[in-house]
């Protein structure tokens, strides 16, 4: 096994693997698309019950086809059997849900395990049928691309194409169903029929995915791509697109690798690839990823620290000068340290940041002085702080002695638009505002 071999498989250089790799990539894309709606409808577990319930159908279809004198391993026949018992499983879940007071998860757990157990037993039984070989049927459990023929790949491609077209056609209707089914019903949309259609789409993907991915893992191919995509976007359109791409990449890599190592189950590799993409998305996803969120938090903290420093300096200048206009004079570090509470090491850290941003400069004497831009910024921040304090006092009925702490947190978030609103509300537009409370060093 060389890198060339892997590369050639990935880039579809070999005729015998080309169709299989393409077929599984298409499966991944369709699963990502349809799976998004399964996830948004909050029916992932129902999809799992469905896939596990296909196993008895595969065994029964094999037995029936063999008894009728056909080849027991004809894929269309096996998938038909899988569809029948898969849907039977879903139906059973719905019946249990309707007629008993069992919770959904219990109903699905029961159906899932009973059907899977039944399937395993039936497979063992058909293996005992004399004269025929049932070898390879268990590949539907874990998935294998080794036995996939060209005609299988074409069947899969056709089913996937139809599924994708139908999904895109009723995108708007499915979105409405998933977001607010009750509202959809009052608007005359056939909610039950839409739910059945969604289930039919999921069934189609599940059943054609059985061979490549296997029934245990096919649910992961439906659910992992959309959850990964969600970390990158807040919009449905991009989410669907991304989910399809992630599914396709997982299928493509998984099928290529397992085509080279026939003892590696394709399903496992596909799902592992999808999981790696999920992990990357969870950490780096621009919209909801853990790391960008943490960085945004750090940035806000930095901004808050800087603004506190500038305002403290400005207030010290105000306290030490009797006459307007305010002059930008150097002040001693000790004054700043006394002016407000700083956590250990915080003050020197924010001073370092402010110096890096050219807001403050250190004189040779060790004193600090605001730069020209820092002075302007400090006056703006102080003004915003006081605007907000005045707003709280006049409109929110908060005592003047308490507004400082409330304003302390909010002032950093005030945008230009809100400041204008505050000015209008308070009928204030003069450039400097006096503090509504006494400023005392802590």
């Amino acid at each position: 096994m060389t890198w060339e071999l892997l590369r050639d498989t990935l880039f579809l250089e070999y005729h015998n693997t080309r169709l299989v790799v393409l077929g599984v990539a298409a499966l991944g894309a369709t699963a990502g698309l349809v799976g998004s709606f399964l996830l948004l409808r909050k029916q992932s577990l129902l999809g799992d019950a469905l896939s596990h319930a296909t196993l008895p159908g595969i065994g029964i279809a094999f037995a029936v086809m063999t008894a009728m004198g056909f080849s027991g391993k004809s894929l269309p026949g096996l998938l038909l059997g899988a569809t029948v018992t898969g849907l039977l499983g879903v139906l059973l879940v719905l019946v249990i849900r309707r007629t008993t007071r069992l919770k959904d998860d219990a109903a699905m757990g029961i159906v899932l395990s009973v059907f899977f157990g039944l399937g395993v037993a039936i497979l063992k039984m058909v293996e005992k049928i004399p004269g025929v070989s049932a070898a390879g049927l268990d590949s539907f459990i874990q998935g294998s691309t080794a036995l996939m023929t060209e005609s299988d790949a074409i069947l899969i491609a056709v089913v996937l194409a139809v599924t994708t077209i139908v999904t895109i056609l009723i995108l708007k209707e499915l979105t409405l169903l998933c977001f607010d089914a009750n509202f959809a019903a009052t608007q005359g949309w056939p909610v039950l029929a839409l739910d059945i259609t969604l289930m039919a789409l999921v069934t189609a993907v599940t059943v054609v995915g059985l061979q490549a991915v296997g029934l245990i893992l096919v649910i992961a191919l439906l659910i992992t791509p959309p959850t990964a995509a969600r970390f990158w976007t807040n919009r449905l359109g991009p989410m669907l697109f991304l989910s399809a791409i992630i599914g396709a990449i997982s299928g493509w890599l998984g099928a290529s690798i397992s085509a080279l190592y026939s003892n590696l189950p394709a399903g496992a590799i596909i799902v592992i690839t999808a999981a790696v993409i999920f992990l990357i998305s969870m950490i780096f996803g621009t919209t909801r990823g853990v790391l960008p969120r943490y960085l945004r938090h750090l940035q806000l903290q930095k901004k808050v620290g800087r603004q506190h420093l500038l305002r403290a300096t400005y207030e010290i200048l105000e306290n030490s000068q009797e006459t307007a206009p305010l002059k930008n004079l150097p002040i001693a570090m000790g004054l700043l340290r006394k002016h407000r509470f700083w956590a250990k090491g915080e003050l020197s850290k924010v001073i370092r940041q402010a110096r890096a941003e050219d807001h403050i400069e250190r004189r040779p004497s060790g004193e600090l002085r605001l730069s020209e831009s820092g002075f302007g910024e400090a006056s703006r921040i102080t003004r915003n702080h006081r605007l907000w304090e005045l707003y709280l006092i006049t409109h929110a009925d908060i005592a003047p002695s308490h507004v400082d702490r409330d304003a302390d947190m909010v002032e950093h978030l005030l945008g230009a638009e809100i400041v204008h609103q505050l000015e209008a509300e308070l009928d204030l537009s003069k450039p400097t505002i006096e503090s509504p409370h006494a400023i005392e060093p802590t």
Partner: protein
């Protein structure tokens, strides 16, 4: 046509009984809601207020009875009604913007398979501006406050341009500014001759907000103009036995005198 429910009523409910798991939630409800009223539906928790709305909209099966919209069953009159569900009934983490949600109000007229276009987006934006949050049109809905989310739901109802508005607790857990904006909006709808039905919780504001009232506790205790219906006797019948609500009732009764005098 039943003589006691003539077709000029926007909503007429006849002999309605609804049961969940064989346990009745609504009993023999008889109601006529007059056209152009701003009607409050008031009663204690579990009184079946939301259930009444949902049963009228065919969202839950009726055990017996019927609800008529201008004399006809609901499925023939869908275009006349806009429904605002409770805010908690949907997942606000759903990956759509405020504008997307409001545009859902245009889907029915749009029909199958067609996507929303410029016209629908414009309508949705206008509705958002009407409820005062046009500048949040492109925000993802989870980034809106509770009050703003409620306004999104209202805007979706406005887009439908209906005659009758069914609202399930639009004032629940919203800020004071939103409450004021909502009531002004309802009053302006009302002024244009629309009928508004509103499930409501806060007894203190009943007489200020609504000109017509339905007091409900599994059955209709009283129904009629607020000035006649909102009485000590009726409130005791509706809330009687629920001791924890006595304070609310007492507070509300103080307000009866305050607001009923012209």
């Amino acid at each position: 046509m039943r003589p006691e429910h003539p077709p000029e009523f926007p909503l007429a409910v006849h002999d309605l009984t609804v049961a969940y798991h064989r346990k009745p939630v609504l009993w023999d409800v008889e109601l006529n809601i007059p056209e152009g009223t701003l009607t409050g539906i008031v009663g204690p928790n579990g009184a079946g207020k939301s259930t009444l709305l949902k049963a009228c909209l065919d969202l839950i099966p009726k055990t017996s009875g019927e609800a008529l919209i201008y004399g006809k069953p609901y499925e023939e009159q869908r275009d006349l009604i806009a429904y605002v569900p409770q805010r908690e009934s949907v997942d606000w983490d759903f990956p759509v913007s405020a504008l997307d949600v409001v545009a859902m109000g245009t889907y029915r007229k749009l029909g199958w398979f067609k996507r929303i276009g410029r016209t629908q987006k414009k309508q949705a934006l206008e509705a958002l501006e009407q409820v005062g949050i046009g500048h949040f049109a492109n925000r993802q809905i989870s980034q809106l406050s509770g009050g703003q989310q409620q306004r999104v739901f209202l805007a979706r109802a406005l887009v439908q341009d209906a005659e009758i508005y069914f609202m399930d607790e639009p004032f629940a857990a919203v800020d004071a500014a939103t409450e004021q904006a909502i009531i002004e909006l309802l009053q302006s709808l009302n002024a244009r001759g629309k009928t508004v039905l509103c499930v409501h919780h806060d007894l203190a504001t009943v007489s200020r907000y609504f000109d017509h009232l339905v007091l409900l506790n599994m059955r209709v205790v009283a129904s009629g103009p607020t000035s006649e219906t909102f009485t000590r006797e009726n409130l005791q019948k509706t809330y009687g036995g629920k001791l924890n609500l006595l304070d609310d009732v007492a507070q509300a009764l103080k307000n009866v005198g305050r607001h009923s005098s012209p």
